[in-house]
Structures are given as structure tokens and as C-alpha cells.
Assembly symmetry: C2
Homo-oligomer: 414 residues x 2
């Protein structure tokens, strides 16, 4: 009557299955007594006791101090997931700034940091500034580097499967930088790199406007406008990490979006390219854009017209993503989606007439935290893979993408 | 030491799990002796014997006649999956013809049929003609209607989740037709309806150019050009069944593709719309298009120029799908992909310069069988759901989409 065993009869795999199931139950279902936990997981008491011993030994579970005076006699021991057993670091880096967010294993924010970057800095200087910001962030949060179990970084541009920035118009000199490998030198844990719009999409589903949705397009409107897509609840990166780069087609109006807002663009890509060239430093350009958006929010006629013009132009690209994927929801985020979201309101008028299906367009609720938050989510997913994998011993996981160099931890922050 | 049981302790679910595992092993792994099968599935001999008895009773498994003189003594009994226990019917219907394909449960082709349709026929006449074709197809193949376990139909246009054609430019009067419900009247089994490009994508992965790929875009070039996408090996329909309808944006050059090939199109959508209006009957237009493609294959200069012009125009739309999804492969199928595939060759020159990632473009190998074959695959997938489901008793499955009307079977073919 035996079912085909999932573990192929290997007792060490069975132990890991039991351990993973117990850990997941404690993390997702909250603290519990031994018997309660045994019952919830479907294991015997002695097996559960053994598993808990192992998890306590790995620092992932702790006994909870009994509540004082909570009961007569000896209270039953209770156990909890130690979310503080490790941390995830999310990094959002672009032309003019770096934003960091660090959380515990439960996704609770434990610290953060922001720093401006020189938009004209060379890649090595930019990476050094990121390292310095990481050092400052961890110091301020009182978190040791050894506590990090995974790090993820978001950047504009296309990120290849190996963590190299293969295409990037928004950050000078960034194309070809092996960002995963470079950042990997600073950490002993896995380091992942991902496109910023892709991370924004993950963040919106985790803690933003797309919490209930599985098929989501996130349009991330900044200097240029990119898009990321979740399909069936999972990030769709594409074969070369370039999914969502529909802005490559100039007629879809997603290039130079900030420049178009500020200058009105022109009849074609050449004109808008020229307009962009005049805006050498992305930082001030985005600041100016935010002023225009704020003015549109106050119904300033010229600013309102500029936003309408931009939305009319962008609507082709947003509609192209909507037509290609027919998602449940489109979330518009990024710097140009802020300031009362006049751009989102304008897109709600311009996009639906171009589409076949009812289109739901929502404004991001995450402001400029989206990319960093998505990076944390990606890092936490990577940590989950290690915590809940059953095909090899815990701790035997190797960093994906960027192999950590032994002793490289000390060299961080140079 | 017990794992949490997948079946929640319900013995009837355990029986169904065992039954499904045994059936799958026999179907996918080939015929077997009792002990061999028990070993392959990981069940005891008595359990396997019980399961086989049940599957034989359901007509899904048969004992194989021992090979004459193959061994001394009594040969061990062998069992096989009865692929002939049921059939799947695929229907491809468009403006000017209907093509049918019927296979057994193993996907082996058991029959087929084609018939021309009047492009100006009203929907009820078109559906009646489809019913007549089904009748003829089944009679010629000697397959009783009761043997059909699922039917799927492919059509141009957008098909809503309930099997209604919600948008369709290629078949006059087709918009709003409840095709799933209408065809459902003819069958006692589940009837599914799907967009033709989506089915072509499924066919290419099943038996065509995309056999090794999980993320595939299929561009289906006909009167208009549609697209279907598989993501992670599964069809991505989208929230309203409209994924891939990127041709809605006229600047992407996927509308009126046959007209553009024949007339050279014009400066804008209005001109090509007018060109199309002159081609009232889709059938002859496609025949003319195939003559142009054949001439281009013979290097006729005018025809070659017409194909180049069409490819240059279509390349925007093909690139838009490639940029949105960054698939492993783009398969170009449909009537315009035939005749030595000069269009595919031209797209291979025009599309890559518009894209960021290396783009792999392949010609369909399935000719005009793609949609019917994809429909059969969809029907077989639906049958698999019933055969291998474990959450309720076999046979308790209800048709998805179009509920069958009791006794409706006799009314088919009117």
C-alpha cells in the first residue's frame, strides 16, 4: 500500500524533509508547543523533538521564555522561528543614488540607508560608493556582515543570467560591468543582480498594489521607462534577462520619458534624444520632473498639458505590454509615478482605448522604496531556497551567480 | 517518522493516487508485467494487482496477449495502456475552411477531415458546416462520438474564458458567438475553445519546431498576424484570453498582413484597411498570397520585394513580442510562413536589429496542421486532467467551459 516515496528511501533526505516542513510551519504558522507543532506538521512527538534539536543547533529555532505567571504547574515549552538568525540586504543603485534596505529572515525591516552618487562617476567609483553605503547601513543597523544570508541588487538596464549588466542607457559606463561578481567580492553569501523594473514588480506583489495578483506588469517610469512582468506569481526574466524591454522600439514612446516630460519631446526619437543629451545629470532632471508632476497635481495648466503629452506617448508602450500579456493588473511605479500620481491618472485615460481587454492600472504604493524592497524579496527567496531545500545538507549551498571569495568579506567598504 | 501524508489520510484518495501513478507509468513507460510495474511505481504486488483490476474495469488497461512461443512454461502476464479507450478531437475553423484531426489517447492520429467554408456564411451556418464536417470525420475514421473524451476548437480572434469569441476581425459575424456553448451541444464531453495562434504555439512545442523550448512565442501569419506564447512550457492565455494580441497597435505592422503582401500596403493603417476591404473573401486572398510567396521562393524580383516589404513592416510586431517576453525561440507559422518560408528568411534579417537579445527565429514545420494539432493537444491535456486527477472519483469530471447537455450527442451534425 506504500506510495512511491518522494525521498527515494534516503533517510537523510527524509530528515531534511521533516526539518524543512517543521521550520516552515514555525515560520509561517507562528510559535508553538512541541505537541502542537508535531500535530501541525504530521510528525510524531519524538521525531519533532529531534528535528527541533537540530534546528536549535543551527540557530534557526529558539525556545520561548514561558510567560510569567501564565499558568499553574510547569508550562509547556514553546518554540519559535528565529527571524533574527540572519538578514537579507537589498540594494537599489542607479545613476544618481543608492538606496539600501536590510531585513531579518521574516522580512521585518531592520535598517536602511540612502546616499547620493555622482552621475558621471566611473563604474569602479560607483561600486566603491555602494560598498561604502553598505558598510554604513550595516553599522547603523548594528548588523554584522556575517549575518547576511543573501544580497540582491537592482539596477537600470538588462542584467544577464550571470549578473553582468549587458545593456544600460541610464547609467554612464555601466554596460558590460560584471555587477554580480564585483559586489560578490564584498560578501560571503550569494549575491544576485536584477533589472530594477523586475524588482519593482516583485515588490508590488509582496507589499504593494499587486498583492492579490499573479499576472502583473510593472511599468517603472523614470529617465527611461522599463517594464517587468510576473506570470503565475513568478518573475519572468526571459532567456537573456531582457523581458519587458519593449522600450527598445522608439514608436512605443518609453524612451527618454523624463526628457519628454520636461521638454515636450519632439516629432521623433532623434529630437527626444537631443533633448536628453541636454540633461546630462539624471538627478536634477528627475528633480525637475517631480516639480512638473507636483504642479500638475495642483492643476497647473502647462504642467497638466506636459503630463498629458507624456501619457499619450507612453500609452503605446504600456498598451503593448498589456496586449502582449493581458495581465490582471498594470502597476505604474518609478519616480514619474509619484507626486499625487497625475501620470497614472492620465495613463488610465490613454491606455484602455488601445487595448482589447479591460485594463486595470494602479499607482505604486511603494514610492522610491520599490526597487530596494524587491531586491530584499529576491534575496529572501534565495535564502528560502537554502532553508527549505531537501536535496542536499543545509549549509552546503553555494552562492548562485557570484561565487564568494573566502576572506573577501573584510575587503568590503573600500 | 511519518511524513505528512499528501492524501490527508483519506483511503479513497490514496487509491486514486496509486491508480493514477500506475496508469501514468503504463502510458508513458510502456507495457509491463505485474512485478515490473509494481517495482516501477513503488507499490506492493497485491496493491498493483488491485489497481490493475480497477483500471481494466474502467477500460483503460488491457492484458497483452502473450507472444506465441516466446518462452517455456507459463509466460508472465503483461499489461498495457489502452490508448484506444478514447479519442480527442481537434477542430480548426476560420473564415474559409475547417480542418479536423482526431487522435487516440496516446496522441496517435486516427483520422482527419477538411472542408471549405463560405467566407460570407452567417455564424449559425458556419457552425452547422463544422458539425457536418465532424460527422463526416468521425464516420470516415470509424470512431463513435461516445469515444470522444474531449474536443477543442481553434479560431482566429480573442476567446474569452467561457469560450465566447469576444473579438474577431478575420471571420465575418463571429464576434460574440458563444462557440464553446454552441459546439458543446454536439458532444457529451468537455469542449474547449482557444485562439488559433495559441494553439499553434502548443502544437509547435508538442510536435513542431519548439520541442526543446519552454518559453516560446508563436507568430501566426495569415490574413492578420496573431501571436501566442508559452511560458514555462504552459500556454499563457492572459486574464481575458487576449495575450499576444499585440497587432492591435497599427504601428506594429501585424494587421492586414495578407493585404500588405498583395498590395504593398500603404503609408498607414487607413490605406491597408482599404486594401483589405477589396479582398472581401479571405480564401482567394490567401491563395494569391501563397502564389506570391512561391514566386519569392523562385527569386522572382517583384515577389521578393513584396515579401521584404511585408517582413520589414511585421518586424516591429515580432520584435515587440520578443522584447516583451525575451523567449528562447520565435516560431513563425500560418499560411504566410509556407512556400519555402521566404517570409521567415526575411524576418530573420529584419527582427534581430530591433532586439536586445539574440533572437532565434524558426519556421513552423507543421504547415496548416498546426492549429488542429494544437487543438488536439489541448483536448488531450483536458483528458489527462480527468485521468490523473485524484481529488474526486474518476468519471465525476464535468465539462469545463461548455456544459454538455444530456442527450445532445444525437443532435450533432445538423
Amino acid at each position: 500500500m506504500a506510495e512511491r516515496p518522494l525521498h527515494g528511501g534516503d533517510p537523510s533526505v527524509l530528515r531534511r524533509l521533516n526539518s524543512a516542513a517543521t521550520l516552515r510551519e514555525l515560520r509561517d504558522g507562528g510559535e508553538s508547543t512541541l505537541s502542537g507543532l508535531a500535530n501541525r506538521v504530521g510528525l510524531s512527538r519524538p521525531t519533532t523533538e529531534g528535528v527541533l534539536g537540530e534546528l536549535i543547533g543551527r540557530g534557526l529555532v529558539a525556545e520561548v521564555a514561558p510567560r510569567p505567571g501564565s499558568a499553574l504547574g510547569r508550562p509547556a515549552r514553546r518554540y519559535r522561528f528565529r527571524a533574527e538568525a540572519g538578514h537579507a540586504l537589498g540594494i537599489a543603485v542607479d545613476a544618481h543614488r543608492v538606496r539600501l534596505l536590510v531585513t531579518d529572515l521574516g522580512g521585518e525591516v531592520a535598517g536602511g540607508h540612502r546616499a547620493g552618487l555622482d552621475p558621471h562617476a566611473r563604474p569602479d567609483a560607483r561600486i566603491a560608493a555602494v560598498r561604502a553605503a553598505v558598510k554604513e547601513c550595516l553599522a547603523a543597523a548594528g548588523i554584522g556582515r556575517a549575518s547576511l544570508r543573501a544580497v540582491a541588487a537592482g539596477t537600470p538596464g538588462v542584467v544577464g543570467p550571470d549578473g553582468t549588466v549587458t545593456r544600460c542607457a541610464a547609467v554612464p559606463g555601466w554596460e558590460g560591468v560584471e555587477l554580480g561578481r564585483e559586489l560578490g567580492r564584498s560578501f560571503a553569501c550569494p549575491v544576485l543582480v536584477e533589472n530594477d523594473a523586475n524588482l519593482a514588480a516583485m515588490a508590488e506583489r509582496w507589499r504593494g498594489a499587486a498583492r492579490a495578483a499573479d499576472d502583473v506588469v510593472c511599468v517603472y517610469a523614470g529617465l527611461h521607462t522599463g517594464a517587468g512582468a510576473l506570470i503565475g506569481g513568478r518573475l519572468h526574466r526571459g532567456r537573456w534577462g531582457a523581458a519587458g524591454e519593449i522600450g527598445m522600439l522608439p514608436e512605443l514612446g518609453l524612451r527618454d520619458t523624463t526628457a519628454v516630460l520636461l521638454t515636450g519631446g519632439g516629432p521623433g526619437p532623434a529630437a527626444s534624444g537631443a533633448a536628453l543629451a541636454g540633461l546630462a545629470s539624471a538627478g536634477p532632471a528627475l528633480d525637475d520632473a517631480e516639480r512638473v508632476l507636483a504642479a500638475a497635481g495642483r492643476r497647473d495648466p502647462a504642467a497638466t498639458e506636459a503630463v498629458e503629452r507624456l501619457a499619450a506617448r507612453m500609452s503605446r508602450g504600456v498598451a503593448a505590454m498589456a496586449l502582449a500579456l493581458d495581465p490582471e493588473m498594470i502597476v505604474v511605479g518609478g519616480p514619474l509615478a509619484g507626486a499625487g500620481a497625475p501620470l497614472v491618472g492620465a495613463l488610465r485615460r490613454h491606455v484602455p482605448p488601445l487595448c482589447l481587454s479591460p485594463v486595470r492600472i494602479e499607482a505604486s504604493e511603494l514610492g522610491d522604496e520599490a526597487v530596494g524592497l524587491g531586491a530584499v524579496r529576491l534575496a529572501l527567496d534565495r535564502i528560502d531556497e537554502d532553508l527549505f531545500r531537501v536535496d542536499r545538507a543545509p549549509g552546503a549551498a553555494e552562492p548562485a551567480g557570484a561565487p564568494a571569495e573566502p576572506g573577501a568579506t573584510e575587503s568590503a567598504g573600500r
